[in-house]
Symmetry: C2
Subunit: 375 residues, 2 copies
């Protein structure tokens, strides 16, 4: 078979809806009527199983669905099932909706479990301005690549004496080389011209210094790509002044956490609402690709599971759809990726069908239908 099997975690809350939308739009030749309203009780697995039948839709993916378990799996110490991890390890690619970690003690966060168990060492976040969606910036087109396993996230902290505490930031040659290799590989594979390593080595000479040393070593193997080093404070100042200066950014864990969210803010709408919480919701476009050892790639929507609107046909599937696009690019299916991405962007740019979070009044299904119309 020339189908590529991929793991799908529909996730919680609005996850299943947007995942089904994501699967649906890959059935490009389906009659428009084949939408969730018409099949409200369609088992979520059905579409994927029927995929080959509708193979005129030429994205050659066969989804293997996995849900979060209803109790803690002792092998993963979390609600993530061992089988689902095995599925990702076997398929090497996966797509993941928002997962809300159930409250309670004695188990690990779902996202953390995936990160650790699959050794997801690089978090790749494409950030580009959406045509027709007004923000303060209309020229963003950059990729942040975050080291995702060490640095400030070591978890090593202790009290030295009362009132004096310390945290350890760990940087290793192995993890730094690995993420640097991926950044340059990615830049080359995607026709990007510049890689900027972000650091504070003027202060943390040993840790960030080692990170830079590794980036430099890898840079030498890619003479066609411009390499530069930018101090994190300068980087943030430059980003908010002129994000078009950047292309691919690679950095240690915490800087990646900060800068990838800063960049999300650049494209994520004006945020003119006075509510501080609302401001975090319009992550409608933001998605990441997590790269793990052994060539694993797990694409994910960054937003939360929005339980308040779950099941109401109101969720915006864009981030999950664009995650799917990232996954297709990872599989080097650029034509398919372009086709889907164009249809999504066109629909948003036209502005006729937008979900509520983008200021429109369309249902998930109407928005999806509009996208299918553009395919």
């Amino acid at each position: 078979s020339d189908l590529i099997r991929a793991t799908l975690f529909p996730g919680d809350g609005i996850g299943p809806e947007i995942a089904s939308s994501s699967k649906r739009y890959q059935f490009m030749s389906l009659p428009i009527g084949f939408l969730s309203e018409s099949y409200p009780s369609l088992p979520i697995g059905f579409l994927s199983e029927s995929y080959p039948i509708f193979s005129a839709a030429d994205v050659p993916i066969e989804w293997e669905e996995h849900f979060v378990g209803t109790e803690v799996d002792p092998r993963t110490q979390s609600f993530v099932t061992w089988e689902s991890l095995e599925s990702v390890r076997r398929n090497k690619v996966g797509l993941k909706g928002p997962m809300a970690t159930p409250i309670g003690k004695g188990h690990r966060s779902l996202n953390l479990t995936l990160r650790k168990e699959l050794n997801l060492f690089a978090n790749v976040r494409p950030c580009y301005s959406l045509p027709g969606y007004k923000t303060r910036y209309d020229d963003v087109n950059l990729i942040t690549i975050r080291e995702n396993t060490e640095g400030e996230y070591s978890g090593l902290e202790h009290q030295v004496v009362r009132g004096v505490v310390e945290s350890l930031k760990i940087i290793t040659r192995q993890a730094s080389l690995r993420v640097a290799e991926y950044a340059f590989y990615y830049a080359k594979a995607h026709g990007r011209e510049r890689v900027s390593a972000i650091h504070k080595a003027n202060i943390m000479q040993k840790t960030d210094g080692l990170f830079l040393k590794c980036c430099r070593e890898v840079a030498e193997k890619y003479p066609e790509i411009t390499y530069e080093e930018v101090v994190i404070d300068n980087c943030c100042m430059m980003l908010v002044k002129n994000p078009a200066l950047f292309d691919v950014l690679v950095m240690p864990n915490l800087y990646g956490d900060i800068i990838s969210d800063l960049c999300a803010g650049l494209i994520g709408g004006l945020g003119l609402t006075p509510s501080r919480l609302d401001l975090l919701i319009p992550l409608a476009f933001i998605h990441s690709l997590n790269i793990g050892e052994g060539g694993i790639a797990l694409a994910e929507a960054v937003h939360g599971s929005a339980p308040d609107i779950a099941g109401k046909n109101l969720a915006n599937p864009t981030a999950l759809l664009l995650s799917g696009v990232s996954m297709l690019r990872h599989l080097e299916l650029h034509d398919k990726a372009d086709r889907i991405q164009d249809a999504v962007l066109k629909t948003i740019a036209e502005g006729k069908y937008r979900t509520a979070d983008l200021g429109g009044s369309s249902k998930t299904s109407e928005f999806t239908k509009a996208i299918i119309g553009h395919l």
Copy 2:
């Protein structure tokens, strides 16, 4: 005498020019002719000495000038003279132009010397949009307050084994309480309504957790001020979407370094130049007030000493002038501060006289004259 003595470090490069401009505009009753072109060889001390004569200019400051030494002072291990430190300790207030640390081994950076010797524990940076100066944001009005002595800047780093290095981040109760106290004191003194503590305590539970605990303790003493805690990644996303959401921000050292420069970028012009270096130059407005033990306050222009344009009557004195304004506010001379700040802002807003860095063609002296005209 009812004059307040203040230390003045004109600094290097363009420092003396902009410092003299700063002093000059405090001679509000001086005839316009009394400008540097007319007195090109005026010793820089002259104006300050003649201050009392022109006391119609009612900013009651008497400057005590100190220059960076020509050799390393063994008592400071740097080119900063012991006398100048004594001057700040005695006067409690000072104003500082850009200082370039001479290259060479065996001595400390000038800025670091001041920071350490004067125990400058808080760095306060006002960031507000300049009326009439076009940027992407026109509604910025916030204050970042950065802990300036510990955190990620401990300098404690070591190699664990080959390829594995670590840096220590140190947070103490003493330094956290001290900066939190200052933040709330500042907020109250300046009629600010909200203090946001910025952190990553979801990851660094002990260090950032202690920082937050200290902020909470202080917050309880200020029930009239709204207190909130914002995770640094969310904070950056919110800042670039809607900076008007923030008022006073207080945070550990590295977050302060990052966020204060991000905020500088918000007000610092469009940065549409393709040069990455130019982008860092328009720090024309950015200034800080450094607060030290014993009530010391040292105001400073954040930009560099720009040796390429030094002595050419081209430098923009705005940042140093506004530093002076911060210093006056610290001295609770708000009327004087308002008067000077209004004159500077009006001159920039009118746009007729602007220095080259702001897109104009005025000389330092013309710009200064225009400001005096507005006093």
